[in-house]
Protein backbone atom coordinates (compact mmCIF):
# COMPACT_ATOMS: atom_id res chain seq x y z
CA UNK A 1 0.00 0.00 0.00
CA UNK A 2 1.39 3.36 -1.09
CA UNK A 3 -0.14 6.61 0.13
CA UNK A 4 0.85 10.05 -1.11
CA UNK A 5 -0.74 12.79 0.95
CA UNK A 6 -0.61 16.54 0.33
CA UNK A 7 2.68 16.44 -1.54
CA UNK A 8 3.86 19.96 -2.43
CA UNK A 9 7.18 21.02 -3.87
CA UNK A 10 8.41 24.57 -4.12
CA UNK A 11 11.80 26.12 -4.73
CA UNK A 12 13.18 29.35 -3.50
CA UNK A 13 15.75 31.47 -5.29
CA UNK A 14 16.78 35.11 -5.27
CA UNK A 15 13.75 36.16 -7.29
CA UNK A 16 11.13 34.51 -5.09
CA UNK A 17 9.41 31.25 -4.28
CA UNK A 18 8.02 29.08 -7.05
CA UNK A 19 5.45 26.42 -6.41
CA UNK A 20 6.11 23.51 -8.74
CA UNK A 21 3.81 20.83 -7.35
CA UNK A 22 0.77 21.51 -5.17
CA UNK A 23 -1.25 19.22 -2.95
CA UNK A 24 -0.85 15.90 -4.73
CA UNK A 25 -2.65 13.01 -3.02
CA UNK A 26 -3.41 9.48 -4.13
CA UNK A 27 -3.15 5.95 -2.88
CA UNK A 28 -2.24 2.73 -4.59
CA UNK A 29 -2.93 -0.84 -3.50
CA UNK A 30 -0.54 -3.71 -4.04
CA UNK A 31 -0.92 -5.35 -7.40
CA UNK A 32 -2.60 -2.32 -8.94
CA UNK A 33 -1.23 0.17 -11.47
CA UNK A 34 -1.54 3.94 -11.40
CA UNK A 35 -0.62 5.95 -14.45
CA UNK A 36 0.42 9.57 -13.96
CA UNK A 37 -0.08 11.42 -17.22
CA UNK A 38 0.70 15.00 -18.16
CA UNK A 39 2.55 17.20 -20.62
CA UNK A 40 6.25 17.83 -20.27
CA UNK A 41 6.81 20.43 -17.59
CA UNK A 42 3.58 19.58 -15.79
CA UNK A 43 5.47 18.34 -12.76
CA UNK A 44 5.10 14.60 -13.16
CA UNK A 45 8.83 13.97 -13.07
CA UNK A 46 9.10 16.00 -9.87
CA UNK A 47 6.36 13.89 -8.29
CA UNK A 48 8.30 10.75 -9.22
CA UNK A 49 11.53 12.13 -7.86
CA UNK A 50 9.82 13.01 -4.60
CA UNK A 51 8.32 9.53 -4.26
CA UNK A 52 11.78 8.03 -4.78
CA UNK A 53 13.18 10.27 -2.04
CA UNK A 54 15.41 12.16 -4.43
CA UNK A 55 14.17 15.55 -3.25
CA UNK A 56 14.48 14.98 0.48
CA UNK A 57 17.14 17.67 0.71
CA UNK A 58 14.78 20.37 -0.61
CA UNK A 59 13.39 22.79 1.92
CA UNK A 60 10.13 23.37 0.09
CA UNK A 61 8.99 19.75 0.34
CA UNK A 62 5.73 19.15 2.19
CA UNK A 63 3.29 16.32 2.70
CA UNK A 64 4.07 12.64 3.03
CA UNK A 65 4.79 9.62 0.88
CA UNK A 66 4.13 6.41 2.77
CA UNK A 67 5.25 3.06 1.44
CA UNK A 68 4.14 0.16 3.68
CA UNK A 69 3.60 2.67 6.47
CA UNK A 70 7.05 4.24 6.28
CA UNK A 71 7.42 7.87 5.26
CA UNK A 72 9.92 8.29 2.44
CA UNK A 73 10.14 12.06 2.76
CA UNK A 74 11.17 11.96 6.42
CA UNK A 75 13.67 9.12 6.04
CA UNK A 76 17.32 9.78 6.84
CA UNK A 77 19.74 8.88 4.08
CA UNK A 78 20.47 5.55 5.77
CA UNK A 79 16.77 4.71 6.13
CA UNK A 80 16.19 5.84 2.59
CA UNK A 81 18.80 3.38 1.36
CA UNK A 82 17.06 0.54 3.22
CA UNK A 83 13.71 1.61 1.78
CA UNK A 84 15.13 1.69 -1.73
CA UNK A 85 16.71 -1.72 -1.27
CA UNK A 86 13.69 -3.47 0.18
CA UNK A 87 10.51 -1.67 -0.77
CA UNK A 88 10.89 0.61 -3.78
CA UNK A 89 12.03 -0.39 -7.24
CA UNK A 90 12.90 2.11 -9.95
CA UNK A 91 12.69 1.72 -13.70
CA UNK A 92 14.46 4.65 -15.35
CA UNK A 93 13.66 6.71 -18.39
CA UNK A 94 16.76 6.19 -20.53
CA UNK A 95 17.69 2.55 -20.10
CA UNK A 96 21.10 2.81 -21.78
CA UNK A 97 22.18 5.85 -19.85
CA UNK A 98 20.98 4.38 -16.59
CA UNK A 99 23.73 1.76 -16.69
CA UNK A 100 27.32 2.77 -15.99
CA UNK A 101 29.22 2.62 -19.30
CA UNK A 102 32.51 1.46 -17.81
CA UNK A 103 31.18 -1.61 -16.00
CA UNK A 104 29.92 -4.87 -17.41
CA UNK A 105 26.19 -5.47 -17.15
CA UNK A 106 26.80 -8.55 -15.02
CA UNK A 107 28.94 -6.77 -12.48
CA UNK A 108 26.36 -4.00 -12.12
CA UNK A 109 23.47 -6.43 -11.76
CA UNK A 110 25.37 -8.55 -9.25
CA UNK A 111 26.25 -5.41 -7.29
CA UNK A 112 22.59 -4.43 -7.03
CA UNK A 113 21.55 -7.98 -6.10
CA UNK A 114 24.23 -8.09 -3.40
CA UNK A 115 23.02 -4.77 -2.01
CA UNK A 116 19.32 -5.62 -2.12
CA UNK A 117 19.46 -9.21 -0.89
CA UNK A 118 21.92 -10.71 1.54
CA UNK A 119 23.48 -13.04 -0.97
CA UNK A 120 27.17 -13.31 -1.71
CA UNK A 121 29.20 -13.41 -4.95
CA UNK A 122 28.57 -16.71 -6.69
CA UNK A 123 24.96 -16.90 -5.52
CA UNK A 124 24.24 -13.42 -6.87
CA UNK A 125 25.51 -14.50 -10.24
CA UNK A 126 23.07 -17.41 -10.29
CA UNK A 127 20.21 -15.17 -9.21
CA UNK A 128 21.14 -12.72 -11.95
CA UNK A 129 21.11 -15.45 -14.58
CA UNK A 130 17.77 -16.90 -13.55
CA UNK A 131 16.26 -13.42 -13.28
CA UNK A 132 17.41 -12.51 -16.77
CA UNK A 133 16.08 -15.70 -18.29
CA UNK A 134 12.75 -15.14 -16.60
CA UNK A 135 12.72 -11.72 -18.27
CA UNK A 136 13.03 -13.32 -21.69
CA UNK A 137 16.77 -13.38 -22.33
CA UNK A 138 17.86 -16.55 -24.05
CA UNK A 139 21.56 -16.43 -23.19
CA UNK A 140 21.92 -14.70 -19.84
CA UNK A 141 25.64 -15.54 -19.35
CA UNK A 142 26.48 -13.80 -22.60
CA UNK A 143 24.45 -10.70 -21.66
CA UNK A 144 26.12 -10.52 -18.27
CA UNK A 145 29.58 -10.35 -19.80
CA UNK A 146 28.71 -7.45 -22.11
CA UNK A 147 28.94 -3.70 -21.69
CA UNK A 148 25.77 -1.57 -21.76
CA UNK A 149 26.60 0.01 -25.12
CA UNK A 150 26.62 -3.43 -26.71
CA UNK A 151 22.98 -4.03 -25.76
CA UNK A 152 19.90 -2.55 -27.39
CA UNK A 153 17.69 -0.10 -25.51
CA UNK A 154 15.11 -2.78 -24.83
CA UNK A 155 17.73 -5.17 -23.44
CA UNK A 156 19.13 -2.47 -21.16
CA UNK A 157 15.61 -1.75 -19.97
CA UNK A 158 15.06 -5.40 -19.09
CA UNK A 159 18.30 -5.38 -17.12
CA UNK A 160 17.08 -2.26 -15.32
CA UNK A 161 13.77 -4.01 -14.59
CA UNK A 162 15.68 -6.93 -13.14
CA UNK A 163 17.52 -4.52 -10.85
CA UNK A 164 14.20 -2.98 -9.79
CA UNK A 165 12.34 -6.16 -8.90
CA UNK A 166 15.08 -8.35 -7.46
CA UNK A 167 14.04 -7.78 -3.84
CA UNK A 168 10.28 -8.22 -4.48
CA UNK A 169 9.47 -4.58 -3.68
CA UNK A 170 6.08 -3.25 -2.58
CA UNK A 171 6.20 -0.40 -5.08
CA UNK A 172 7.82 0.04 -8.47
CA UNK A 173 8.13 3.49 -9.98
CA UNK A 174 8.56 3.48 -13.73
CA UNK A 175 9.56 6.88 -15.07
CA UNK A 176 8.61 6.97 -18.76
CA UNK A 177 9.91 3.42 -19.12
CA UNK A 178 9.19 3.23 -22.84
CA UNK A 179 9.63 6.76 -24.13
CA UNK A 180 13.06 6.12 -25.63
CA UNK A 181 12.14 2.76 -27.19
CA UNK A 182 10.63 1.94 -30.57
CA UNK A 183 6.91 0.93 -30.66
CA UNK A 184 7.51 -2.81 -30.94
CA UNK A 185 9.96 -2.93 -28.05
CA UNK A 186 7.66 -0.66 -26.08
CA UNK A 187 4.90 -3.27 -25.98
CA UNK A 188 7.32 -6.03 -25.18
CA UNK A 189 8.74 -4.08 -22.24
CA UNK A 190 5.26 -3.29 -20.92
CA UNK A 191 4.41 -6.98 -21.15
CA UNK A 192 7.53 -7.84 -19.21
CA UNK A 193 6.66 -5.33 -16.50
CA UNK A 194 3.05 -6.48 -16.27
CA UNK A 195 4.17 -10.10 -16.19
CA UNK A 196 6.47 -9.54 -13.24
CA UNK A 197 3.79 -7.49 -11.53
CA UNK A 198 1.33 -10.35 -11.86
CA UNK A 199 3.90 -12.67 -10.33
CA UNK A 200 5.15 -10.44 -7.51
CA UNK A 201 2.12 -8.25 -6.90
CA UNK A 202 3.80 -4.89 -6.42
CA UNK A 203 2.03 -1.56 -6.86
CA UNK A 204 3.18 0.13 -10.05
CA UNK A 205 3.35 3.86 -10.66
CA UNK A 206 3.67 4.44 -14.36
CA UNK A 207 4.67 7.97 -15.28
CA UNK A 208 4.09 8.73 -18.93
CA UNK A 209 2.89 11.20 -21.52
CA UNK A 210 1.75 8.32 -23.69
CA UNK A 211 -2.05 8.14 -23.26
CA UNK A 212 -2.30 4.91 -25.16
CA UNK A 213 0.03 3.25 -22.69
CA UNK A 214 -1.63 4.92 -19.69
CA UNK A 215 -5.17 3.83 -20.51
CA UNK A 216 -4.28 0.39 -21.78
CA UNK A 217 -2.07 -0.83 -18.99
CA UNK A 218 -3.28 0.78 -15.79
CA UNK A 219 -6.21 0.51 -13.40
CA UNK A 220 -6.18 4.11 -12.30
CA UNK A 221 -5.11 7.26 -14.10
CA UNK A 222 -4.02 10.53 -12.50
CA UNK A 223 -3.93 13.56 -14.77
CA UNK A 224 -1.38 16.24 -13.86
CA UNK A 225 -1.64 19.81 -15.08
CA UNK A 226 0.39 22.76 -13.84
CA UNK A 227 1.73 20.87 -10.83
CA UNK A 228 -1.68 19.63 -9.62
CA UNK A 229 -3.58 16.39 -9.95
CA UNK A 230 -6.58 17.78 -11.79
CA UNK A 231 -8.34 14.45 -11.96
CA UNK A 232 -7.92 10.88 -10.77
CA UNK A 233 -10.13 7.97 -11.51
CA UNK A 234 -10.42 4.50 -12.93
CA UNK A 235 -8.92 4.24 -16.39
CA UNK A 236 -12.02 3.17 -18.29
CA UNK A 237 -14.19 5.69 -16.48
CA UNK A 238 -11.92 8.59 -17.40
CA UNK A 239 -11.82 7.39 -20.95
CA UNK A 240 -15.60 7.17 -21.26
CA UNK A 241 -16.72 10.03 -19.04
CA UNK A 242 -13.87 12.48 -18.38
CA UNK A 243 -14.71 15.04 -15.74
CA UNK A 244 -12.15 17.82 -15.94
CA UNK A 245 -12.12 19.86 -19.18
CA UNK A 246 -8.41 19.12 -19.53
CA UNK A 247 -9.01 15.38 -19.26
CA UNK A 248 -11.76 15.54 -21.83
CA UNK A 249 -9.52 17.53 -24.17
CA UNK A 250 -6.76 14.98 -23.70
CA UNK A 251 -9.10 12.09 -24.32
CA UNK A 252 -10.39 13.80 -27.39
CA UNK A 253 -6.84 14.31 -28.73
CA UNK A 254 -6.18 10.69 -28.04
CA UNK A 255 -9.32 9.16 -29.58
CA UNK A 256 -9.58 11.50 -32.55
CA UNK A 257 -6.01 11.07 -33.70
CA UNK A 258 -6.20 7.36 -33.14
CA UNK A 259 -9.62 6.38 -34.45
CA UNK A 260 -10.95 8.88 -36.97
CA UNK A 261 -9.13 10.07 -39.99
CA UNK A 262 -10.86 13.44 -40.21
CA UNK A 263 -7.95 15.45 -38.88
CA UNK A 264 -6.49 15.53 -35.40
CA UNK A 265 -7.55 17.59 -32.46
CA UNK A 266 -5.28 19.73 -30.38
CA UNK A 267 -5.61 21.95 -27.34
CA UNK A 268 -5.09 25.61 -28.20
CA UNK A 269 -2.66 27.80 -26.29
CA UNK A 270 0.32 27.06 -24.08
CA UNK A 271 0.42 25.99 -20.44
CA UNK A 272 1.22 28.78 -17.98
CA UNK A 273 4.90 29.03 -17.15
CA UNK A 274 5.77 28.00 -13.62
CA UNK A 275 7.19 31.49 -13.15
CA UNK A 276 3.77 33.05 -13.65
CA UNK A 277 1.87 33.30 -10.42
CA UNK A 278 -1.85 33.06 -11.06
CA UNK A 279 -4.53 32.88 -8.40
CA UNK A 280 -7.06 30.86 -10.40
CA UNK A 281 -7.12 27.49 -12.12
CA UNK A 282 -3.96 26.98 -14.16
CA UNK A 283 -5.92 25.61 -17.07
CA UNK A 284 -7.97 28.83 -17.23
CA UNK A 285 -6.31 30.23 -20.36
CA UNK A 286 -6.92 27.10 -22.42
CA UNK A 287 -10.21 25.90 -20.99
CA UNK A 288 -13.33 25.92 -23.18
CA UNK A 289 -15.73 25.65 -20.26
CA UNK A 290 -14.26 28.31 -18.01
CA UNK A 291 -16.37 30.24 -15.49
CA UNK A 292 -15.73 33.62 -13.90
CA UNK A 293 -14.58 32.11 -10.64
CA UNK A 294 -11.90 30.08 -12.45
CA UNK A 295 -9.83 33.21 -12.94
CA UNK A 296 -9.74 34.28 -9.33
CA UNK A 297 -9.75 31.14 -7.23
CA UNK A 298 -8.18 27.74 -7.56
CA UNK A 299 -10.76 24.93 -7.29
CA UNK A 300 -10.52 22.38 -4.48
CA UNK A 301 -10.38 18.66 -5.12
CA UNK A 302 -13.84 17.06 -4.84
CA UNK A 303 -15.22 13.53 -5.19
CA UNK A 304 -16.76 12.58 -8.46
CA UNK A 305 -18.01 9.05 -9.06
CA UNK A 306 -15.21 6.86 -7.73
CA UNK A 307 -12.45 9.40 -8.45
CA UNK A 308 -11.58 12.98 -7.61
CA UNK A 309 -11.53 16.12 -9.71
CA UNK A 310 -10.34 19.70 -9.16
CA UNK A 311 -12.69 21.90 -11.17
CA UNK A 312 -15.37 24.50 -10.42
CA UNK A 313 -17.82 22.63 -12.65
CA UNK A 314 -18.36 20.06 -9.90
Amino acid sequence: MTKVDGLSISIKNKKGTWSLVRDVSFSLERGRTLAIVGESGSGKSLITSAILGMLNHLEGLEGSVEVCGRDVLKASSRELRTLRRNLIGYIPQNPRESLTPTLKVGSQLVEVIAAKTDRKGRECRLVAESLLSSLGFSGPERILSMYPHQLSGGMCQRVAIAMAVVSRPALVVADEPTSSLDPLTKHKIMEVIKGIQAEQGFGLILVTHDLDLAFSSSDQVAVVYGGRLVETGAAEELLLRPGHPYTSDLVRCFTRSGAEKGGSYYIPGEPLSIYTSFPGCRYFNRCRQRLEICETKEPACVRRDRGRVACWLY
Partner: protein, 307 residues
Protein backbone atom coordinates in the same frame (compact mmCIF):
# COMPACT_ATOMS: atom_id res chain seq x y z
CA UNK B 1 43.80 -1.37 -32.82
CA UNK B 2 46.96 -2.38 -34.64
CA UNK B 3 46.21 0.14 -37.37
CA UNK B 4 45.80 2.81 -34.73
CA UNK B 5 49.14 1.95 -33.13
CA UNK B 6 50.92 1.94 -36.48
CA UNK B 7 49.39 5.26 -37.46
CA UNK B 8 50.43 6.83 -34.20
CA UNK B 9 53.95 5.40 -34.50
CA UNK B 10 54.25 6.86 -38.00
CA UNK B 11 53.06 10.26 -36.85
CA UNK B 12 55.45 10.20 -33.89
CA UNK B 13 58.34 9.36 -36.18
CA UNK B 14 57.40 12.38 -38.29
CA UNK B 15 57.36 14.62 -35.23
CA UNK B 16 60.80 13.32 -34.23
CA UNK B 17 62.14 14.12 -37.68
CA UNK B 18 60.76 17.66 -37.51
CA UNK B 19 62.30 18.16 -34.08
CA UNK B 20 65.68 16.79 -35.15
CA UNK B 21 65.75 18.99 -38.23
CA UNK B 22 64.65 22.12 -36.37
CA UNK B 23 67.14 21.56 -33.59
CA UNK B 24 69.96 20.87 -35.97
CA UNK B 25 69.51 23.95 -38.09
CA UNK B 26 68.64 26.25 -35.20
CA UNK B 27 71.85 25.23 -33.46
CA UNK B 28 73.85 26.01 -36.59
CA UNK B 29 72.18 29.41 -36.82
CA UNK B 30 73.56 30.26 -33.40
CA UNK B 31 76.13 32.97 -33.36
CA UNK B 32 79.53 31.80 -32.11
CA UNK B 33 80.94 28.30 -32.08
CA UNK B 34 81.74 25.71 -29.43
CA UNK B 35 85.46 26.41 -29.28
CA UNK B 36 85.52 30.20 -29.23
CA UNK B 37 86.02 30.59 -25.49
CA UNK B 38 89.17 28.48 -25.43
CA UNK B 39 91.93 30.50 -27.06
CA UNK B 40 93.18 27.84 -29.40
CA UNK B 41 95.60 28.29 -32.24
CA UNK B 42 94.00 27.92 -35.69
CA UNK B 43 95.64 24.58 -36.37
CA UNK B 44 94.24 22.83 -33.30
CA UNK B 45 90.90 24.46 -33.95
CA UNK B 46 90.88 23.13 -37.50
CA UNK B 47 91.73 19.70 -36.15
CA UNK B 48 88.87 19.85 -33.68
CA UNK B 49 86.52 20.95 -36.48
CA UNK B 50 87.62 18.07 -38.64
CA UNK B 51 87.30 15.60 -35.77
CA UNK B 52 83.63 16.51 -35.21
CA UNK B 53 82.92 16.94 -38.89
CA UNK B 54 82.21 20.63 -38.49
CA UNK B 55 84.31 21.47 -41.56
CA UNK B 56 81.86 19.62 -43.80
CA UNK B 57 78.96 21.38 -45.57
CA UNK B 58 75.88 21.71 -43.34
CA UNK B 59 73.78 19.39 -45.50
CA UNK B 60 76.46 16.69 -45.18
CA UNK B 61 76.63 17.16 -41.41
CA UNK B 62 72.85 16.85 -41.24
CA UNK B 63 72.80 13.57 -43.12
CA UNK B 64 75.64 12.17 -41.02
CA UNK B 65 73.76 13.15 -37.89
CA UNK B 66 70.58 11.44 -39.08
CA UNK B 67 72.36 8.23 -39.98
CA UNK B 68 74.04 8.13 -36.57
CA UNK B 69 70.69 8.81 -34.95
CA UNK B 70 69.18 5.82 -36.69
CA UNK B 71 71.70 3.77 -34.70
CA UNK B 72 70.64 5.58 -31.49
CA UNK B 73 74.02 7.30 -31.44
CA UNK B 74 73.67 10.91 -30.34
CA UNK B 75 77.33 11.70 -30.93
CA UNK B 76 80.08 13.01 -28.73
CA UNK B 77 79.91 16.06 -26.53
CA UNK B 78 81.91 18.94 -27.91
CA UNK B 79 82.57 20.47 -24.53
CA UNK B 80 83.29 17.39 -22.44
CA UNK B 81 85.85 15.66 -24.65
CA UNK B 82 85.66 11.91 -24.73
CA UNK B 83 82.17 11.70 -23.30
CA UNK B 84 79.28 10.73 -25.52
CA UNK B 85 75.89 12.32 -25.24
CA UNK B 86 74.39 8.89 -24.57
CA UNK B 87 76.65 8.54 -21.51
CA UNK B 88 75.70 11.93 -20.15
CA UNK B 89 71.99 11.19 -20.53
CA UNK B 90 72.37 7.72 -19.02
CA UNK B 91 74.12 9.23 -16.03
CA UNK B 92 71.88 12.19 -15.28
CA UNK B 93 68.46 10.98 -16.39
CA UNK B 94 67.98 8.55 -13.47
CA UNK B 95 68.32 11.44 -11.00
CA UNK B 96 65.67 13.48 -12.80
CA UNK B 97 63.46 10.44 -13.29
CA UNK B 98 63.56 9.41 -9.62
CA UNK B 99 62.40 12.82 -8.47
CA UNK B 100 59.93 12.96 -11.36
CA UNK B 101 58.26 9.61 -10.71
CA UNK B 102 57.83 10.37 -7.02
CA UNK B 103 56.38 13.79 -7.85
CA UNK B 104 54.05 12.26 -10.43
CA UNK B 105 52.71 9.68 -7.99
CA UNK B 106 52.28 12.30 -5.28
CA UNK B 107 50.51 14.70 -7.65
CA UNK B 108 48.15 11.99 -8.92
CA UNK B 109 47.24 10.67 -5.46
CA UNK B 110 46.79 14.13 -3.98
CA UNK B 111 45.03 15.58 -7.01
CA UNK B 112 42.58 12.74 -7.51
CA UNK B 113 41.69 12.52 -3.81
CA UNK B 114 41.16 16.24 -3.35
CA UNK B 115 39.38 16.55 -6.69
CA UNK B 116 36.90 13.79 -5.85
CA UNK B 117 36.24 15.30 -2.41
CA UNK B 118 35.69 18.75 -3.92
CA UNK B 119 33.46 17.41 -6.67
CA UNK B 120 31.29 15.43 -4.24
CA UNK B 121 30.88 18.38 -1.89
CA UNK B 122 30.44 20.90 -4.67
CA UNK B 123 29.94 24.49 -3.45
CA UNK B 124 30.18 23.52 0.20
CA UNK B 125 33.03 24.33 2.52
CA UNK B 126 35.37 21.39 1.72
CA UNK B 127 35.04 22.30 -1.94
CA UNK B 128 35.74 25.97 -1.31
CA UNK B 129 38.76 25.13 0.83
CA UNK B 130 40.20 22.75 -1.76
CA UNK B 131 39.55 25.19 -4.58
CA UNK B 132 41.28 27.97 -2.68
CA UNK B 133 44.27 25.71 -2.11
CA UNK B 134 44.46 24.69 -5.73
CA UNK B 135 44.22 28.28 -6.95
CA UNK B 136 47.10 29.08 -4.66
CA UNK B 137 48.99 26.05 -5.96
CA UNK B 138 48.46 27.21 -9.52
CA UNK B 139 49.69 30.70 -8.80
CA UNK B 140 52.80 29.89 -6.78
CA UNK B 141 55.52 28.97 -9.26
CA UNK B 142 58.01 26.28 -8.32
CA UNK B 143 60.92 28.73 -8.00
CA UNK B 144 58.95 30.49 -5.27
CA UNK B 145 57.78 27.32 -3.55
CA UNK B 146 61.16 25.57 -3.77
CA UNK B 147 63.18 28.42 -2.35
CA UNK B 148 60.48 29.08 0.26
CA UNK B 149 60.59 25.46 1.42
CA UNK B 150 64.38 25.51 1.57
CA UNK B 151 64.35 28.73 3.55
CA UNK B 152 61.71 27.53 6.00
CA UNK B 153 62.52 23.85 6.51
CA UNK B 154 66.23 23.72 5.81
CA UNK B 155 67.58 27.07 6.97
CA UNK B 156 65.18 28.09 9.74
CA UNK B 157 63.72 24.85 11.12
CA UNK B 158 66.66 22.70 10.03
CA UNK B 159 64.44 19.66 9.45
CA UNK B 160 65.80 18.87 6.02
CA UNK B 161 69.31 19.35 4.65
CA UNK B 162 70.07 22.25 2.32
CA UNK B 163 70.42 21.03 -1.25
CA UNK B 164 72.14 17.70 -1.03
CA UNK B 165 71.40 14.32 -2.43
CA UNK B 166 72.65 11.52 -0.22
CA UNK B 167 69.75 9.98 1.69
CA UNK B 168 66.19 9.36 0.47
CA UNK B 169 64.90 12.05 2.84
CA UNK B 170 66.77 14.64 0.79
CA UNK B 171 64.22 14.06 -1.95
CA UNK B 172 61.28 15.27 0.14
CA UNK B 173 61.58 18.98 -0.61
CA UNK B 174 62.29 18.70 -4.36
CA UNK B 175 59.43 16.23 -4.80
CA UNK B 176 57.02 18.46 -2.89
CA UNK B 177 58.09 21.45 -4.97
CA UNK B 178 57.69 19.60 -8.21
CA UNK B 179 54.34 18.00 -7.31
CA UNK B 180 52.48 21.09 -6.08
CA UNK B 181 51.53 22.58 -9.43
CA UNK B 182 50.40 19.40 -11.20
CA UNK B 183 48.49 18.37 -8.07
CA UNK B 184 46.54 21.62 -8.27
CA UNK B 185 45.80 21.12 -11.96
CA UNK B 186 44.67 17.53 -11.44
CA UNK B 187 42.46 18.54 -8.52
CA UNK B 188 40.62 20.99 -10.74
CA UNK B 189 40.35 18.59 -13.66
CA UNK B 190 38.91 15.80 -11.52
CA UNK B 191 36.58 18.19 -9.72
CA UNK B 192 35.07 19.48 -12.97
CA UNK B 193 34.72 15.98 -14.37
CA UNK B 194 33.18 14.60 -11.17
CA UNK B 195 30.59 17.38 -11.09
CA UNK B 196 29.62 16.50 -14.66
CA UNK B 197 29.59 12.76 -14.09
CA UNK B 198 27.59 12.97 -10.85
CA UNK B 199 24.73 14.54 -12.81
CA UNK B 200 24.50 11.61 -15.20
CA UNK B 201 21.55 9.24 -15.26
CA UNK B 202 23.55 6.18 -14.29
CA UNK B 203 24.74 7.77 -11.07
CA UNK B 204 21.23 8.87 -10.10
CA UNK B 205 19.91 5.42 -11.00
CA UNK B 206 22.61 3.72 -8.95
CA UNK B 207 21.69 5.84 -5.93
CA UNK B 208 17.98 5.13 -6.37
CA UNK B 209 18.78 1.41 -6.55
CA UNK B 210 20.03 1.76 -2.99
CA UNK B 211 23.78 1.33 -3.49
CA UNK B 212 26.22 2.84 -0.98
CA UNK B 213 27.14 6.41 -1.94
CA UNK B 214 30.84 5.73 -1.40
CA UNK B 215 30.62 2.73 -3.71
CA UNK B 216 28.75 4.71 -6.33
CA UNK B 217 31.40 7.42 -6.26
CA UNK B 218 34.41 5.10 -6.42
CA UNK B 219 33.05 2.38 -8.72
CA UNK B 220 30.59 4.18 -10.97
CA UNK B 221 31.62 7.84 -11.04
CA UNK B 222 35.41 7.92 -10.68
CA UNK B 223 36.30 5.65 -13.63
CA UNK B 224 34.21 7.89 -15.86
CA UNK B 225 35.91 11.02 -14.55
CA UNK B 226 39.46 9.69 -14.96
CA UNK B 227 40.07 9.88 -18.74
CA UNK B 228 40.64 13.65 -18.62
CA UNK B 229 43.38 13.14 -16.03
CA UNK B 230 44.91 10.25 -17.92
CA UNK B 231 45.18 12.35 -21.05
CA UNK B 232 46.76 15.13 -19.06
CA UNK B 233 49.19 12.89 -17.25
CA UNK B 234 51.02 11.86 -20.44
CA UNK B 235 52.65 15.21 -21.12
CA UNK B 236 52.85 15.73 -17.36
CA UNK B 237 54.82 12.53 -16.88
CA UNK B 238 57.24 13.61 -19.58
CA UNK B 239 57.73 17.02 -18.01
CA UNK B 240 58.28 15.59 -14.55
CA UNK B 241 60.47 12.67 -15.62
CA UNK B 242 62.83 14.82 -17.59
CA UNK B 243 63.16 16.98 -14.53
CA UNK B 244 62.64 20.59 -13.92
CA UNK B 245 65.53 22.95 -14.60
CA UNK B 246 64.43 25.15 -11.78
CA UNK B 247 63.99 22.49 -9.14
CA UNK B 248 67.32 20.96 -10.12
CA UNK B 249 68.92 24.36 -9.87
CA UNK B 250 67.45 25.25 -6.47
CA UNK B 251 68.21 21.87 -4.92
CA UNK B 252 71.48 21.38 -6.84
CA UNK B 253 70.40 18.02 -8.23
CA UNK B 254 72.76 16.62 -10.89
CA UNK B 255 69.91 16.01 -13.33
CA UNK B 256 69.45 16.33 -17.05
CA UNK B 257 68.03 19.85 -16.94
CA UNK B 258 71.28 21.27 -15.59
CA UNK B 259 73.21 19.83 -18.51
CA UNK B 260 70.71 21.21 -20.98
CA UNK B 261 71.08 24.77 -19.78
CA UNK B 262 74.87 24.71 -19.59
CA UNK B 263 75.18 23.04 -22.97
CA UNK B 264 73.17 25.81 -24.61
CA UNK B 265 75.45 28.42 -23.11
CA UNK B 266 78.46 26.38 -24.27
CA UNK B 267 77.18 25.97 -27.84
CA UNK B 268 77.65 22.25 -27.38
CA UNK B 269 75.62 21.41 -30.50
CA UNK B 270 75.60 17.68 -30.02
CA UNK B 271 74.60 17.76 -26.38
CA UNK B 272 71.79 20.27 -26.96
CA UNK B 273 70.42 18.39 -29.92
CA UNK B 274 70.78 15.08 -28.09
CA UNK B 275 68.94 16.21 -24.98
CA UNK B 276 66.22 17.93 -27.03
CA UNK B 277 65.64 14.78 -29.03
CA UNK B 278 65.60 12.72 -25.87
CA UNK B 279 63.03 15.04 -24.23
CA UNK B 280 60.76 14.85 -27.24
CA UNK B 281 61.12 11.10 -27.36
CA UNK B 282 60.10 10.74 -23.71
CA UNK B 283 57.13 13.04 -24.28
CA UNK B 284 55.93 11.11 -27.32
CA UNK B 285 56.26 7.76 -25.58
CA UNK B 286 54.47 9.00 -22.46
CA UNK B 287 51.62 10.53 -24.47
CA UNK B 288 51.29 7.39 -26.51
CA UNK B 289 51.15 5.15 -23.43
CA UNK B 290 48.54 7.28 -21.67
CA UNK B 291 46.42 7.42 -24.81
CA UNK B 292 46.52 3.64 -24.95
CA UNK B 293 45.58 3.50 -21.27
CA UNK B 294 42.62 5.83 -21.79
CA UNK B 295 41.67 3.78 -24.81
CA UNK B 296 41.66 0.53 -22.88
CA UNK B 297 39.66 2.05 -20.03
CA UNK B 298 36.81 3.05 -22.31
CA UNK B 299 34.88 -0.06 -23.34
CA UNK B 300 32.99 1.86 -26.03
CA UNK B 301 36.16 2.83 -27.87
CA UNK B 302 37.76 -0.51 -27.26
CA UNK B 303 34.94 -2.49 -28.80
CA UNK B 304 34.20 -0.16 -31.68
CA UNK B 305 37.72 -0.16 -33.12
CA UNK B 306 38.84 -3.42 -31.67
CA UNK B 307 38.05 -7.07 -32.10
Amino acid sequence: MLVYILKRAGFNLGVMLVVVTLTFFLMHLLPGDPFMSQRLNPEIKANLYAKHGLDQPVARQYLDYLSALARFDLGESLKYPGRTVNEIIAESFPVSAAVGILALVLALVLGVTLGVLAGVWQSRWPDRLILAFSTLGLSIPNFALGAGLVYLFALKLKIFPVAMLEKPIDLVLPVLTLAAWPAAVITRLIRTEMIEVLKRDYIIAAMVRGLDPARVILRHALPNALPAVIHYSGPLAATLLTGSFIVEKIFALPGLGQYYITSIGNRDYNLVAGITIFYTFVLLVATFLTDLLAFSMNPQLRYRNGS
